[in-house]
């Protein structure tokens, strides 16, 4: 029974620098870094030390709370450095990659002939489990979870996000095997959610054994949280799993070949790029291999992930564990004179979801927005703003305030189990008062996880 979901509230931010569907050739990265900070609420315990030799798929570290959940190395080579921050927090494990990748050895497996427990064990052993996230909390799934259903969003509606149709084209087999694997993990359904108005590749359309739901409307229609909310909203105590479409194919290929192949297509975009396009690279690869010679100016923000939820990285940084795109936009670290570029100007180059700048008259214009906050943080004054970009039956501002005052019961009642911080990304974007909405939501989720498990 396919569902039809119409999203009306939301916003497609018209940004310049969308990646052309051309595959650029990236030079092979020499070093790779896996960052434990990519995993939310995750305390890493190391399994390797500097000087160790690892294979692609060898476990590098595990979660202290759930020791079965291990994170694998994307390539084979030598662990050359373990970077630590304040209080010896592990920031990254750097691996000097071999020229020819050697993989951990697993036999090819057919999920259909395996039991759920066997599939789970295989996912855990082959370090694939970390690609599965759970709701509530948006953290890595726990091995003991019994998910009601598993959700895969077939498209990413975030600005400058990669196009899964292009990325997964021709990977029908891997994607289908991945779905078959996921099916063994739940008694419920595996949902694949696709956009009604966008082109949909055969890889998704021909998926078998799953429920295909059709979604229409602007961002955040591609957020899996929004889709879950409209398909079957999560109640307290319930758990569902979510997996990104590319990672479904990765799991599939690992079952097909026995190899942990962490290579992926990455959309490299943003208004600071000379020619935005796709690159084939490997998880954890050095970003300079993707960006060298392609970036304009030297005052840029490099983001691993999309512009709304990604992580700021330095020019010599590395691709994140879950990142499917790299965006480069200008830094906005210069004061703007009020009459020309500031609050009193015509604002033809300023994009706003409200129509308070005259740029709203220029339909179809794309903007090269920078990282300036365009104003100082203020008390929450404007109302109705979050609601207009938040397509769930939840009162976002009230939930936010419940988190701010740390009222756990109120948070539960207002639906905190149904959201992840990415669902609030647009609220943060539109906020007149420049509130750090996502950070507050993350703190709320962590508080709830700590208190209610």
């Amino acid at each position: 029974m396919s569902k039809d979901i119409k999203i009306k509230k939301g916003l497609n931010i018209p940004l310049k620098g969308e990646a052309d569907k051309v595959l650029g050739t990236a030079q092979r990265s020499e070093t790779f870094v896996v960052k434990p900070t990519d995993f939310k609420n995750f305390t890493p315990k190391l399994l390797v030390k500097e000087g160790d030799e690892v294979l692609a798929g060898s476990p590098l570290f595990f979660n202290k709370e759930y020791p079965d959940v291990k994170i694998g190395s994307p390539v084979s080579g030598e662990v050359v450095e373990i970077t630590r921050g304040a209080k010896r927090k592990i920031l990254g494990i750097k691996i000097l990659g071999d020229k020819d990748t050697r993989y951990t050895e697993f036999a090819a497996a057919n999920a259909a002939s395996m039991s759920g427990e066997e599939v789970k064990q295989r996912l855990l052993d082959q370090c694939l489990w970390a690609y599965i996230k759970r709701r509530p909390y948006g953290t890595v799934a726990r091995p003991e979870d019994k998910p009601l259903a598993i959700y895969v969003s077939g498209f990413d509606s975030a600005p400058l996000a990669g196009d899964n149709d292009y990325i997964l084209h021709g990977k029908e087999k891997e994607f289908q095997v991945g779905l078959d694997v996921l099916k063994q993990l739940t008694d419920g359904k595996v949902h694949v959610n696709l956009h009604r108005e966008l082109n949909t590749d055969a890889v998704f359309k021909d998926a078998k054994g799953v429920q295909i739901n059709w979604v229409s409307g602007p961002h955040p229609s591609g957020n899996v949280g929004v889709q879950i909310h409209h398909i079957q909203p999560l109640n307290k105590g319930e758990v569902v799993f979510t997996v990104a479409a590319q990672d479904v194919a990765l799991i599939g290929s690992a079952f097909l070949t026995g190899k942990y192949d962490a290579s992926r297509l990455v959309a490299v975009g943003g208004s600071s790029l000379k020619s935005p396009k796709y690159f084939k690279t490997i998880q954890g690869a050095s970003l300079s291999t993707l960006l060298d010679g392609n970036v304009e100016g030297d005052n840029n923000r490099i983001i691993s992930g999309n512009v709304l939820t990604g992580t700021k990285v330095s020019a010599d940084g590395y691709l994140g564990f879950f990142s499917k795109e790299v965006n480069v936009i200008p830094e906005g670290n210069e004061a703007k004179f009020f009459l020309t570029e500031g609050w009193a100007g015509l604002g033809l180059s300023k994009y706003s979801a409200s129509r308070s700048y005259f740029s709203w008259l220029m339909l179809g214009k794309k903007y090269g927005l920078d990282t300036n906050t365009n104003g100082e943080p203020r008390a929450l004054v404007v109302t109705g703003e979050y609601e207009s970009v938040f397509p769930m039956d939840i009162y976002p501002q009230h939930l936010l305030k419940a988190i701010m005052i740390g009222d756990i019961e109120l948070m539960e009642n207002l639906g905190i189990y149904e959201v992840d911080e990415e669902d609030f990304a647009l609220c943060e974007y539109v906020c007149t008062s420049k509130t750090a909405v996502q950070q507050i939501v993350r703190e709320g989720l962590e508080l709830i996880e700590q208190e209610c498990g």
Binding site: I13, I303, E376, R378
Partner: protein, 392 residues
């Protein structure tokens, strides 16, 4: 403009850590207020959304002020127009406008001077940046008082409301009642002779017997018989050539403001529309009875006179004191319109109700929101109950 920016930086230096006046570091917030007025700061995002919308509170507030300018300018003209009309003297446009300019500009200056002065004081004392909320309040206040209000009274009222309606609650964004209306309510109850009656609405009405300053509502409430003796046509009421508070008479000017607020998306259309529906409903009910002048007065004309239109467009839509949920906004707006007309007709002491209606609904808004949000919570709990029931 780099030199200006550097000048601000230099100005702040002595107050920063290690500077000469380090112990007065809170003064920085005062300088910051002017600096950020001139320059959007070089602050960048760190986590979360790396890009942010172009709008900020300064833009929001400046658009509201812009939306009020037609009312202010028309108010200046109308001040002179009413004055000379009552005297029976022919006067040029400039002579009329001049009276308004001379009388109204001081009101604006006092309102901003006193209000912002207190805001700066509080911000520096408490060590936080100065928020833009008062910029709108400061413009609203001169528009909703009678033209001849003594400046000292205005100053006292502004001081009272900024301190007791706003700062004690925590400043911008935290207040329960609309600050401008609290100012007006304070004036109304503390100095009633300057705030109501039939002498005060036209310049020199109190000192010159040749001038009657009665408003239409004043006339109506005193009326026993029919409406024939009304001195103004509906057209006058719409354009605003009638006596009243400084900026509230012209529905035309208010509609221009409303258009600005609605197009930019800054004013809530839900509140404006529902208030008009609420006012219309109550007006129709009264029309059906028609027991006195005010009840006979056409329901749609009720919306052209008094402060109804101004209140609905500029005060009811204040997001801080209004209901915050979309459903709540419908209820809140409807009740404001409904009660404004009701108070107008039933209140024997004072023939206008929008001020009290909005203030009352300001107090009720959190309650409305509470029940709207409670509805959402109940739905969620029910969903869970159904789920557990079927699971068993």
């Amino acid at each position: 403009m780099k030199f200006l920016h550097t000048a601000f930086q230099n100005m702040k230096k002595p107050f920063e850590e290690g500077g000469k006046f380090e112990k007065y570091s809170k003064v920085i917030h005062g300088i910051d207020a002017f600096e950020t007025l001139m320059f959007t700061p070089d602050e960048v995002t760190h986590t979360g959304a790396h890009i942010r919308d172009g709008i900020d509170l300064k833009r929001t507030m400046s658009i509201v002020i812009l939306a009020m300018l037609p009312c202010l300018l028309f108010g200046m003209y109308n001040a002179g127009y009413q004055h000379f009309l009552q005297l029976g003297v022919d006067a040029s446009f400039w002579e009329m406008f001049q009276i308004g300019l001379i009388k109204i500009l001081p009101l604006v200056v006092v309102s901003y001077g006193v209000g912002l002065g207190i805001e700066f004081g509080f911000a520096m004392y408490k060590g936080h940046s100065i928020e833009e909320g008062y910029l709108v309040t400061g413009m609203l206040i001169p528009l909703i008082v009678p033209i001849d209000i003594p400046l000292w009274m205005l100053a006292v009222a502004v001081a009272f409301s900024v301190v007791f309606a706003k700062e004690v609650f925590g400043g911008t964004g935290m207040n329960i009642m609309n600050v401008a209306l609290t100012t007006r309510a304070f004036l109304f109850f503390a100095y009633p002779t300057f705030m109501s009656g039939d002498k005060i609405w036209v310049h020199e009405g109190m000192t010159n017997d040749a001038i009657s300053g009665a408003t239409i509502l004043g006339d109506l409430s005193g009326m026993k018989g029919g409406l024939e003796s009304l001195r103004f046509t509906a057209e006058d009421m719409f354009i605003g050539l009638i006596p009243g508070s400084v900026g509230e008479t012209s529905v035309l000017a208010i509609l221009i403001g409303a258009a600005i607020l609605l197009i930019t998306g800054i004013g809530s259309w839900r509140i404006m529309l529902s208030a008009v529906i609420g006012g219309g409903t109550m007006g129709l009910i009264f029309n059906a009875f028609g027991a006195n002048g005010l009840m006979q007065f056409d329901w749609w004309q009720h919306m052209l006179v008094g402060g109804f239109a101004f209140g609905v467009v500029f005060m009811a839509t204040d997001p801080v004191t209004a209901a915050q949920t979309n459903k709540g906004k419908w209820i809140y707006g409807f009740l404001i319109g409904f009660m404004a007309i009701m108070i107008r007709v039933f209140n024997p002491a004072y023939p206008e109700g929008i001020m009290l209606a909005i203030l009352f609904m300001n107090v009720m808004a959190p309650l409305i929101d509470h029940y709207v949000v409670e509805g959402n919570i109940k739905k969620r709990l029910k969903r869970m109950a159904v789920k557990t029931a079927t699971a068993n």
